[in-house]
Subunit: 352 residues, 4 copies
Amino acid sequence: MGNFGRVPVGIVGASGYGGVQLVRLLMDHPEVELVYLGGESSVGKSFASLYPHLAHAVKLSIEEVDPEVIARRCEVVFLSMPNGLACRFVPTLLEKGCKVLDLSADYRFRNLTTYTTWYGVERSDRTTADTAVYGLPELYRDRISEAQLVGCPGSYPTASLLALSPLLKQGLIVPETAIVDAKSGTSGGGREAKTYLLLAEADNSLAPYSVVRHRHTPEIEQICSDLAGHEVTVQFTPHLIPIVRGTLATVYATLRDPGLVGDDLTTIYTAFYRNSPWIKVCESGIYPQTKWAAGSNLCYIGVEVDPRTGRVIVMSAIDNLIKGQAGQAIQCLNIMMGWDETLGLPKMGFYP
Amino acid sequence: MGNFGRVPVGIVGASGYGGVQLVRLLMDHPEVELVYLGGESSVGKSFASLYPHLAHAVKLSIEEVDPEVIARRCEVVFLSMPNGLACRFVPTLLEKGCKVLDLSADYRFRNLTTYTTWYGVERSDRTTADTAVYGLPELYRDRISEAQLVGCPGSYPTASLLALSPLLKQGLIVPETAIVDAKSGTSGGGREAKTYLLLAEADNSLAPYSVVRHRHTPEIEQICSDLAGHEVTVQFTPHLIPIVRGTLATVYATLRDPGLVGDDLTTIYTAFYRNSPWIKVCESGIYPQTKWAAGSNLCYIGVEVDPRTGRVIVMSAIDNLIKGQAGQAIQCLNIMMGWDETLGLPKMGFYP
Amino acid sequence: MGNFGRVPVGIVGASGYGGVQLVRLLMDHPEVELVYLGGESSVGKSFASLYPHLAHAVKLSIEEVDPEVIARRCEVVFLSMPNGLACRFVPTLLEKGCKVLDLSADYRFRNLTTYTTWYGVERSDRTTADTAVYGLPELYRDRISEAQLVGCPGSYPTASLLALSPLLKQGLIVPETAIVDAKSGTSGGGREAKTYLLLAEADNSLAPYSVVRHRHTPEIEQICSDLAGHEVTVQFTPHLIPIVRGTLATVYATLRDPGLVGDDLTTIYTAFYRNSPWIKVCESGIYPQTKWAAGSNLCYIGVEVDPRTGRVIVMSAIDNLIKGQAGQAIQCLNIMMGWDETLGLPKMGFYP
Amino acid sequence: MGNFGRVPVGIVGASGYGGVQLVRLLMDHPEVELVYLGGESSVGKSFASLYPHLAHAVKLSIEEVDPEVIARRCEVVFLSMPNGLACRFVPTLLEKGCKVLDLSADYRFRNLTTYTTWYGVERSDRTTADTAVYGLPELYRDRISEAQLVGCPGSYPTASLLALSPLLKQGLIVPETAIVDAKSGTSGGGREAKTYLLLAEADNSLAPYSVVRHRHTPEIEQICSDLAGHEVTVQFTPHLIPIVRGTLATVYATLRDPGLVGDDLTTIYTAFYRNSPWIKVCESGIYPQTKWAAGSNLCYIGVEVDPRTGRVIVMSAIDNLIKGQAGQAIQCLNIMMGWDETLGLPKMGFYP
């Protein structure tokens, strides 16, 4: 049998964009076999009825979400549901021995009070949440390798934190000067029909939103504080951009040492990510574009220093559905399973 | 008072894209004053809450749709509602003396049986429907000038018929060979949220739909039959294109006289539309693009003959929301009121 | 004669996007008559051969650029050429009595040394340059009204300065904390073929460029310094966005008074722009989108305060080809001629 | 050595979009090793300087094009150059024993007179051209398996012929009624800067071009005639669409047997392509979209019959850079080498 020895995996919430990326990437992964797709609104439908272009490749249908049943069939479960749902199923899945990768916000917070404040969901699974590891492998590779439950960050925190981490970890900037001006494509808003995501509304436009109150702010701050060793407040402003996939973060911060130049920073970033195969630090004077990353699990980072202002400007570009969602979860899985971190993930964007 | 002597007009169904175009164009029209906006789902809301960027220019709110009240306040009423609704209000509006321009399909059909077959709406207003004139001024200018009720065609029939009319009227083609391959932007699908109109779905794609069964087929055929003097069947295939505004029809038909060349046809088209200020026939060898028309009430037409196949190929490009919707209705109004046909309508596209 | 009494105007550099917008807007302007189009590479060509969709509306051809001849025929001249060319013609045009509106960088700088440093063009017209007024009417309306030569700013400085001015003028922020993260569509790059502006390259992407060294930086700083009363350094980062028209500036700065809230700022902005008909300050909690402005001469401004960080975030959205280029020049002309500032300019965007 | 036993391959003309797709796909192909990149304008440059996002993956530089040298290093050569260049190198490459896959028009024509008429290039390599096989595997799989030289069709002929073949081969239609209304994205125009391919020009537009005289017409007719067994003339009209990648052909033809229904045709198509793993015939009532194919080597085909007109409408959607270019060449290589036809090629599009 062709799939002898492959690890059986399942996806709950397979109908959205995160789901379909997981399906596509997992179908190509050499060590896993996709055996279960679960959902709510689409139960009983074939996956092919949701994505007709995959009819030849995916024969599964959407099944009910019963954690007991899932645990019997799957060794690994990806959860790609709206915030506030994963926490209902995860305790059972863990108890039954599954490894769980959650793509929602439910297990990204160390402090559930913060989660409840920003997401409005009361939680009774504190013990479970305490065991979760934040699924950004470039920062938490070791903890992920030993985790049973990983809460994977989405595209904004991923792009923001990969840009900010070397600066904070090494104390190069004044933390409270950090500003993240972030831009993202409309697929990040999901596949559910919403007026502001219509092509006629979003195309040929450019729109800031959730200014000073986006829910990814406390998530970014939590990790920044971790890196800095003290509480850090970050200015985070997201913008909707008329592209399908891609997230760019432009980060500004004031350097502690005004003598540092661009090349110094490039060297520091290159060293910081030396063992991170998915991070590509651009040569000095080269700035990343989202198109470069589209279709791959890569994050491209460009660094510049402005000697006039004493600021560092860092730009990071990812595919929001891959490194910012499905690919990152699979990267985490690779680490959890002891596989090569790059296994089964696309290494080159589909440019143009 | 600045608006002394202006004709009071109202719009029912002002919240959609057709509505907002009507608002914008009527605000700029020198002979009318917009005094009433009506709707269903948005009753009580300010128009500015639906379109914040017009807050400075439009102070009206959406009111209930009571034809008696409308008729007291408006001399002219534009109806921009889903199919099957206008026919409920029009008889009263006419009776009270209003001039009515309906942008839905309700008053486009001479034969209500055809309407009911394709739209699934039973109708009891046959006498009213019999008085309606088809609102394509380039073909029915005289009748429109005397009409009280005009059923304005949408973008597909407008582009298709403006391309086909000279050929049929002058017996230049074998009618049953007529094929219309039509392409249109997503604003034609309206402002209501639908998955297939999301930027993430529609952008960077190209999708045929309603093949062999689109509801504009019988409407196109009705007018073609009128022009040809006998029943004509037309092949009509629409495609969704990732642009906001614009409709292009590419029309194929076999010439009766294989000796005609492109220049002959260009001359014939130019003569046919000599008195139609909104039709621009391109020089030989020039083909129209939708971007040329975007923002104007113009229809650009290019004609080519293939001596190898004996076919004529006609391409017509319009802005689906202006010449294909709101602008055309205002053009009809100008004619009904005895004003210059071009009054208050944009004569140059906003290229690029 | 229909144009009796109209002011004869000419455009040098009519073939680009700035030029075609000027043509379109000036054709619609009730007080001027477009009588001359000049250029270099297209001399002798009809304007219609460059923009076939305007063949019906514009009958002029591109003529040689001889300032003596231009001055005999035109009372007003718009110059829309690459940087470094206008300065060759302007002294003669002024001497012959023309009013001149230059859309290039040549007459935007008070200090020609700064100009030469950033643009690499030596200048011998210091006396002329000293008479130029910076063409941002919201700041320099009075001086423009008396000017014979106006150097109009492009889209980035316009959006940036309209967002920053109230803060600097009233001393509300710490000037050196000002950061402008700017985004603009590809029409700003002009109509000449360049690889990075190809649809296949720019679409579905998002690219920072000229980080820490864009030539609009010193121009922005010059005006900011003017407003602040001392030298101000601004961080300016432009991004290329896959839209045709539109510029958005997202501005960050630290408030001197941490007690100010968003509503305070909205009130301050509304007051500051009370007499500026083209500026629309959004209600609290509403953020502007470039689509709102597209097609109009409006600038929409939204203001937000982050009490957590003590920063103000200001967002300004314009159509880069209108308020950021051709429309602004015409607005300046209106002021220079003593006409209403809004004359002949589009007051509503062509949404969607 | 990791690549022990892999077949060494080279690409001439690697700098364009066809080239970069070949690079990306060949890097992922398990049986080949990319050892040579050649070009003219970029000789001496690193591939990474042309495509910085691939700097980590592709270490090769662009070398001079010397067929003797190429033949010493490569067993297989892909030629991706402008028309009229491949024919200079191919005779030598073949003589030295290379297998050659040409992506230009040079080896697609059985009749070099037709080639010279449409491409304006005189040819002296008739003997070589006579040995070339047309690289559309679904029609010429057997001949490709024995060929040393394959002339691969581009996206328009591929989409058109895959839609038309079953109809012509089985005599189901009146051949002279065949009309192909084709639409394609701008990447088909290449990476060289041309004004009409600028985002500002092509975006939000839709433009027919080369009407009745596109150079793919004789190529399509050659194969159609082959299938029909007699000379066939086809109406072919291309349109430029604002998408990066994707080609859709909408094909119209009159059925000989008016009794056939849509399901019959779907069955016929499914049977015709039974052994063609890259062709996916859609279920009845489902029409293909280019987005489905984007990123894969698949061709999706939908079939519909209009009983009112007696016509069949066939829609085929491909990724113009993969099945319409680089992927198809690799598919041919797989067949030439006796490998599985699907080896190393993407089986699922990167939707959305």
